[in-house]
């Protein structure tokens, strides 16, 4: 069954209101030569490193199958495990809140921050809070949110949007980062160069005071373990460790699909995630906490469990596999489309192949960008091959394309639908196909030069702007066969007469 389309564009991801369709946004991105160079360099580097890290494990495919099975089982019994998680978080002294959508999650967080008597928070990089537009919502409530992940800080200081799940500032090179720091960071050293170590040191000095004085920390979580109510954050810089240990109050906003039943399950994912995302055998910092411990870390812990379209996706037999995603971003790094466009064109905090199947499911397909996302792929399959939880992204893309087409069927006239309806009639009928081939041969001779067609009318001009099209030959294969070997039977193999 088709889920009901949401009323306006992106009520679940307010930051991305009014984004243009993918082809329109991509046109600008593709024309930006600096962006193209930055992306090509970054994605190629990490692609090669990932292949090396994955190649070290002989049982990679078994791990991948296990991860898929664990996630599928958990999603099939999500009701059980969510309640178990809530019970165990509560037992360990934490508080659990349930948020149906972005607005509810943001309101819960803002209320908790005010209750803690704070007017600013330090944040660990979190996809869930990017999804809900938490920073913007807090700002509207007079609460400042400071991103403490280096790349996320660069994006925040640059008044920009993240363009990659793991490396939000992948679209910026170090010269551009230096400019942003000098312009936006009051305490940046005036002699700052674009040396990566110096850039990192400047950010560290900038963030240190904020860590030490923060009352409230906000995080997401990579995993939530139901059997003990424990949360897991996997990171590289140590900023996450400080955010979840230094403030008195910790608020974690976590999608309901992040749950794992047991600690045994976590082992599989800790083998898969770092190698898939940063090409490391193990990430530098893994923080795990269970409720509160007097005298050690936050005294007040709140878990906000976020739906925001996830249960709608869960109800879809093909689409639900996207909920297995562990946000490693391996699919972005191998995607030929992402490599040329970067993340902004996807109009969502979830870019790349996984974004193209997650965003239209979480937000519905009523907006131009969401209706265009399933088509933003060549279906090359590189994403499926690297996915550590074996999400068949091409299958889901093609399936969602069908939903987009079907949603428009009963509506207004569409030139594309007319073309596909007519070509469908021709391509299922040998006689019509043969007639079309004869017509094409005549037409081809009129427009072709040296066997190539250099210009076609729209929408095919999109092809011939940069590529020639082949001219139809004077004789199709079937015409040649009929002429030279025509005695053979026509139609299907004559096991029985078709007359």
């Amino acid at each position: 069954m088709t889920p009901p389309e949401q009323a306006g564009p992106h009520p679940g991801m307010p930051t991305y209101l009014g984004m243009p369709s993918f082809p329109v946004a991509a046109k600008t991105a593709v024309a930006d030569s600096q962006l193209r160079r930055n992306l090509a360099h970054a994605t190629h580097t990490i692609r090669v490193k990932r292949a090396g890290a994955v190649g070290e494990l002989a049982d990679w495919q078994e791990l991948r199958a296990a991860a898929k099975a664990i996630k599928d089982h958990t999603l099939a019994h999500l009701d059980t495990y969510l309640v178990r998680l809530e019970q165990n978080v509560t037992k360990a002294g934490g508080h659990v809140h349930w948020a149906q959508d972005a607005a509810e999650a943001n309101a819960i967080v803002a209320g908790l921050v005010r209750a803690a008597g704070a007017d600013r928070v330090v944040k660990v990089k979190s996809m869930a809070t990017q999804e809900t537009g938490l920073n913007e919502a807090l700002a509207a409530d007079g609460i400042g949110a400071l991103e403490t992940d280096l790349a996320e800080l660069i994006v925040q200081l640059g008044h920009d949007l993240p363009s990659h799940i793991l490396v939000p500032a992948i679209h910026k090179n170090r010269a551009e980062i230096r400019e942003i720091f000098l312009r936006e960071m009051p305490d940046a050293p005036p002699d700052l160069t674009d040396d990566p170590r110096m850039l990192a040191a400047a950010a560290r000095a900038h963030l240190r005071q904020a860590f030490l004085s923060a009352q409230v920390g906000v995080s997401g979580a990579n995993f939530a373990i139901a059997e003990t109510g424990s949360l897991v954050v996997v990171e590289s810089e140590g900023n996450g460790r400080m955010c979840v240990t230094l403030p008195q109050t910790l608020i974690s906003v976590v999608g309901i699909e992040k749950i794992l039943p047991t600690w045994r399950d976590l082992e599989v994912f800790l083998a898969l995630l770092p190698r898939s995302s940063t090409a490391e055998r193990m990430n530098p910092y893994t923080s795990i906490w269970t409720g509160v411990t007097p005298g050690d870390g936050p005294a007040d812990f709140h878990l906000v469990l976020l739906d925001n379209g996830r249960t709608t996706a869960l109800a879809d037999q093909i689409g639900r596999q996207a909920l297995r995603c562990i946000r490693c971003s391996a699919c972005l790094n191998v995607c030929p489309v992402y490599e040329r466009t970067g993340g902004h064109a996807y109009g969502s905090p979830y870019p790349g192949p996984i974004g193209a199947i997650i965003s239209p499911q979480l937000r519905g397909i009523s907006s131009p960008v969401d209706a265009s996302l399933p088509f933003a792929s060549t279906l090359c399959g590189a994403c499926y091959e690297v996915c550590p939880v074996a999400i068949n992204i091409p299958e889901a893309l093609v399936y969602l394309r069908g939903k987009v087409v079907d949603a428009k069927r009963e509506k207004h006239f569409s030139p594309e639908r007319t073309v596909f309806h007519a070509s469908g009639l021709v391509l299922r009928s040998p006689a019509l196909l043969a007639a079309a081939q004869r017509a094409a041969a005549v037409g081809g001779r009129l427009v072709a030069r040296s066997g190539r067609i250099r210009r076609l009318p729209p929408p095919l001009s999109g092809w011939t702007d940069t590529r020639d099209a082949p001219a139809p030959p004077p004789e199709s294969f079937r015409a040649w066969w009929a002429r030279t070997r025509g005695s053979q039977p026509r139609g299907s193999r004559p096991r029985r007469s078709r007359r």
Binding site: T378, L427, F477, R493
Partner: protein, 245 residues
């Protein structure tokens, strides 16, 4: 073996020489090739663009045309993977049990040319001669959907006179993607530009693949750039001999 040739609508209409080459190679190896004239299109373009309903009658046409064959050969890894990977889903979705039964029969016996030759028939030397510098683009569907492995490379490696050169970043997509090339022309062209640059870097005279769709895309850019590099389907190289170089 009596083999049904599924030539595909693209090759039938635009690249008939590929179809003739498949017939030449298989007959040279002593097989009987037939072209059931009831065939048309496998429906992949419609299916992949979201017109799944329109693709179902094409699947019915395919199984009607090829139902009686021991083996079906096609010079397209992409169309072969449509039949093998997606026809079962299409039949299930249409709730058509007789189609599902026919698909279960014929899909596993539908082979891309290099797989039929190297893996099913166990032949790598097909008696070909092609004294040129060639690079091979492993099309995405051959590589990642159909998983033809090194079958094309083994076949090309046995062609006398052929100098096979590695294509840098070979496993990257060419940017065709069917209707993607028209719906997202800017991105498609950008991907293609890098593929063409890699091909030209090899110094090959010919770029070869197991899919005319990718070759049409790559070739469109190569001729626009007046690069002098030709595109040839694998079958056409395998059909060449000393007598017909």
């Amino acid at each position: 073996m009596r083999i049904g040739l599924f030539v595909t609508c693209l090759t039938d209409t635009l690249f008939p020489d590929t179809g003739k080459a498949v017939v030449t190679v298989l007959e040279r190896l002593g097989h009987r090739v037939e072209f059931p004239a009831g065939q048309a299109c496998c429906g992949q373009m419609h299916f992949n663009t979201g017109y799944r309903r329109e693709a179902t009658p094409m699947a019915r046409g395919f199984v009607a045309a090829f139902g009686g064959y021991q083996a079906v050969v096609t010079p397209s890894a992409s169309c072969a993977s449509m039949v093998r990977e997606y026809y079962p889903a299409l039949a299930a979705e249409a709730g058509d049990e007789s189609l599902a039964r026919a698909v279960a029969q014929i899909a596993p016996r539908t082979y891309e040319l290099s797989v039929l030759l190297a893996d099913v028939l166990g032949v790598t030397d097909v008696g070909a001669y092609f004294p040129h510098r060639v690079t091979y683009h492993p099309s995405c569907h051959s590589l990642r959907m159909l998983r033809v492995g090194d079958a094309p490379a083994r076949l090309l490696g046995a062609v006398r006179g052929l100098d096979l050169v590695d294509l840098p970043d070979a496993e990257s997509c060419c940017g065709f993607g069917g209707t993607f090339a028209v719906k997202n022309p800017d991105v498609s062209a950008a991907i293609c530009a890098d593929k063409v640059a890699a091909i030209r870097q090899t110094g090959a005279e010919v770029v070869c693949a197991a899919d005319n769709s990718c070759l049409m895309h790559i070739g469109g850019a190569l001729t626009r750039q007046r690069s002098g590099v030709a595109t040839m389907h694998l079958a056409e190289i395998l059909a060449r001999t000393e007598d017909t170089p």
